[in-house]
């Protein structure tokens, strides 16, 4: 029995500190996936929602897939629900995503600032992908999950995952190509 399964069993038996350890073990990956899907500003709310959903459904965890994969399925659903509920993005944010300069906060060395700006622009472009494409691309190309794990997380057949990833990459390349600066990034 793996460490997560032991903690799940203890949490189901009423040990809240076991659940706390589960949150500590997985908070980073849950937060990262949420941040890539909904943006960093809202990732903490989505992470909290995902962990509470998991807490309330802990008895449904069968252990067929690793706990992390089960948790990421919940995170994906929480993030997509959060986005569906959210009102239209403010105009300023869309402009920023489409390539307006990002304001620098405080003093930061030029290369660090440039790197941060580049990452923020790229994150913004990833968030322009359709939700199903975004999820697959984030899980595969940023988080490095296997196709099988992504099929579990997205509850989709393996073939669909591969097809979606291919289309997601094409969509993102197309978005980046609209702006020479994004596609011809300095090495």
């Amino acid at each position: 029995m793996d460490a997560d399964q032991k903690l799940v069993d203890a949490a189901l038996a009423g040990d809240l500190s076991a659940f706390e350890r589960l949150v500590e073990r997985h908070r980073d990956v849950v937060f990262r996936v949420a941040a890539r899907i909904v943006g960093r500003e809202e990732a903490e709310d989505v992470s909290q929602d995902a962990f509470l959903r998991a807490f309330n459904r802990l008895s449904a965890f069968r252990g067929d897939a690793p706990f992390r994969v089960w948790l990421l399925t919940i995170t994906r659903n929480a993030a997509l629900n959060h986005q569906a509920r959210r009102r239209a993005e403010p105009v300023e944010s869309v402009e920023r995503l489409m390539g307006a300069p990002v304001g620098a906060e405080g003093r930061m060395p030029a290369d660090q600032l440039e790197g941060r700006e580049r990452r923020e622009r790229l994150e913004g472009k990833v968030r322009l992908l359709s939700p199903s494409h975004r999820v697959v691309l984030v899980l595969r190309d940023i988080e490095g999950l296997s196709y099988e794990e992504i099929a579990d997380v997205t509850e989709a057949p393996l073939g669909s995952v591969k097809g979606r990833l291919h289309r997601a990459r094409e969509e993102l390349i197309e978005i980046l190509r609209r702006n020479t600066y994004d596609w011809e990034l300095p090495a």
């Binding site: 908070r27 937060f31 990262r32 903490e44 909290q48 190309d141």
Partner: protein
């Protein structure tokens, strides 16, 4: 997590894209220190009220069933 992403990049454009995405991959945002205590606090609170919420839900369900039965009986008269 494995890392065989490079193998399934079919085109030069995809390989280039993966190079860009490596930037995001290297950047690993972390949640604030308040996340874990907030989750645990909410979980504790939810666990405390869950039995009452379930009882209340059952009560409301029973009342609804009762009303439907009464309404059905009156309609059949």
């Amino acid at each position: 997590m494995n890392d065989d992403r490079g193998r399934d990049a079919a085109t030069p454009a995809e390989r280039r894209l993966l190079g860009y995405l490596d930037d995001l991959r290297a950047d690993r945002p972390t949640p604030g220190t308040g996340l874990v205590p907030a989750v645990v606090r909410s979980a504790r609170w939810q666990r405390a009220v869950r039995p009452y919420a379930l009882s209340f839900g059952r009560l409301v369900g029973a009342i609804g069933t009762g009303i439907r039965l009464l309404a059905g009986r009156q309609r059949s008269r």
